[in-house]
Symmetry: C2
Subunit: 350 residues, 2 copies
Amino acid sequence: MGVSQRRVSKAVRIAKVTVGGTAPVVVQSMTKTDTRDIKATVRQIKELEECGCEIIRAAVPDKEAAEALAAIKRGISIPLVADIHFDYRLALAALEAEVDGLRLNPGNIGNAERVTAVVRAAKKRGVPIRIGVNAGSLPKKADPQATVPQRMVSAALEQVRLLESLDFDLIKISLKAFDVPTTIEAYRNIAAKVPYPLHLGITEAGTPRAGAIRSAVGLGILLSEGIGDTIRVSLTGHPREEVVAAYDILKSLNLREHGPTLVSCPTCGRVEVDLVGLAYAVEERLSKMTRPIKVAVMGCVVNGPGEARDADVGIACGKGRGVIFRKGEIVRTVEEKDFLEALMAEVERV
Amino acid sequence: MGVSQRRVSKAVRIAKVTVGGTAPVVVQSMTKTDTRDIKATVRQIKELEECGCEIIRAAVPDKEAAEALAAIKRGISIPLVADIHFDYRLALAALEAEVDGLRLNPGNIGNAERVTAVVRAAKKRGVPIRIGVNAGSLPKKADPQATVPQRMVSAALEQVRLLESLDFDLIKISLKAFDVPTTIEAYRNIAAKVPYPLHLGITEAGTPRAGAIRSAVGLGILLSEGIGDTIRVSLTGHPREEVVAAYDILKSLNLREHGPTLVSCPTCGRVEVDLVGLAYAVEERLSKMTRPIKVAVMGCVVNGPGEARDADVGIACGKGRGVIFRKGEIVRTVEEKDFLEALMAEVERV
């Protein structure tokens, strides 16, 4: 039905969450607080847990941040991943602080000896490592003919081989770029070469408006091909928006259920009420609910119930009056002033 | 490079705009004003022309609306399509008003004689017809075993054969559903069966936030397979948002250039300035520009210029100071208070 069967990947456990194998695609995000500010970071992670974030990552810019991870971990319920750039000693310190996962950037983490030290320490604790390749910070060009996707895949494979040579297989891989076709080509390529679960993302995608669209195109294409075991939507904004967008992408391909889904017509010259205002109000009310229910807001009494017959509950609005329907069957007529409350009451009833 | 070669479709001209063939994917929208209100409708269309809308459609709920089309057409510069439901006589009246295109819904337009009358009139004027199938308003089930995508394709093919039997080939086809996998399957199926250009859309996708994501996933997947000659993003909101989202989808697959593109990092615990505020301010300023320029807003002086070296211009912000760069090369250091103005000045200079 439009979506390919999922690629079979190795299941990797990160604390209590499984990524890959037959596990559903996992939603993750990254904190935007100063990691050294334990209170603010824990508060942000608790907020993200509430909206469905399943793994959280925090930047570790220095030793103080690495040490803060232990206290942060005690305050939260989802697995905590330490994001390491440049200094492998920070990875060792994060492992000391008992983080649940590491992300290393092979473009800037340094030589094989340093990576080896980190891998040995991670292995001892059973902590998985994500090899997080970024198109913008690739290791120096070995082959002058190589394209960006090829270089991304090579950088990842080099690290994979190093980890495997150390008898370490708790591996996840990401290959992020801003350019969507580049990203797609890189992931398709690595998906065919290794068994490890893939973390999908489009890097520096932008603000919640344009960035969510860019991420939806890139991640949507890969997920529809069965590629991808965990996703992070990178947006310049509150991480809550990343989690909401991630679920919207997964829901649109029927890969996850998560809270209500709003079906709403775009309105046209036939509409005789403030449908946009109503749709926004309904979206706002639904955002506080967690049940997976499909709710329709339609601008046409004649077409509305039929066109939205997949919806569990809906309203079709005419001038002055509208109808509430369930699975396409009209259950009641309501006055315009009662549109919002009548619909929400019916939603509660389902 | 991640995106397949475009499906070869027949080129169909709608006034001065070509849809299909080797033409770029065309962006269209629909008015949300009362079509009978000529002034408001023309004003909205002029606004959409300014943000890049290339074809506009208007609902024709009654005879007065059909007659208004002539005056609307005189006030605008892009092709005008009449959207017809139920009453084939409104299609005839719209043709009298010299519209540039028709959209008929085979699910509710009535019997073959009525469609025939419309087709004959359209043929005389060289006006193309879009067969606009909607999953929610399909003709009665002929085959009880048929899936929704199969029924959508059957409904379209039946109309295609009728039009072809009348020696009419100025045909475009759309097969819209809310469910993305259903939509994808329907379009893939019809793309292999007929040579006509395809109009892509996800119907009743929702508000600009969730609806844009749903549309980006569905349209992005099809476009990446080379399917689709014109797109409309249906959103419950101002049609301007539909046009902006459509271009963001096309830009993310490098299928169209349109105005500036903002590359901005998601921020993390390493960031020491209000990067979100800066990114939003830059996005706002860029939204008024039409040149296709790539601008980066990065939160890290060390990684920023390199990670965003594809950007024509960018800023990488540290605490108190930042650097302005061009294609990854640092050109200047700036104080925090000057971040926005210094970046925009550099943008102007390119």
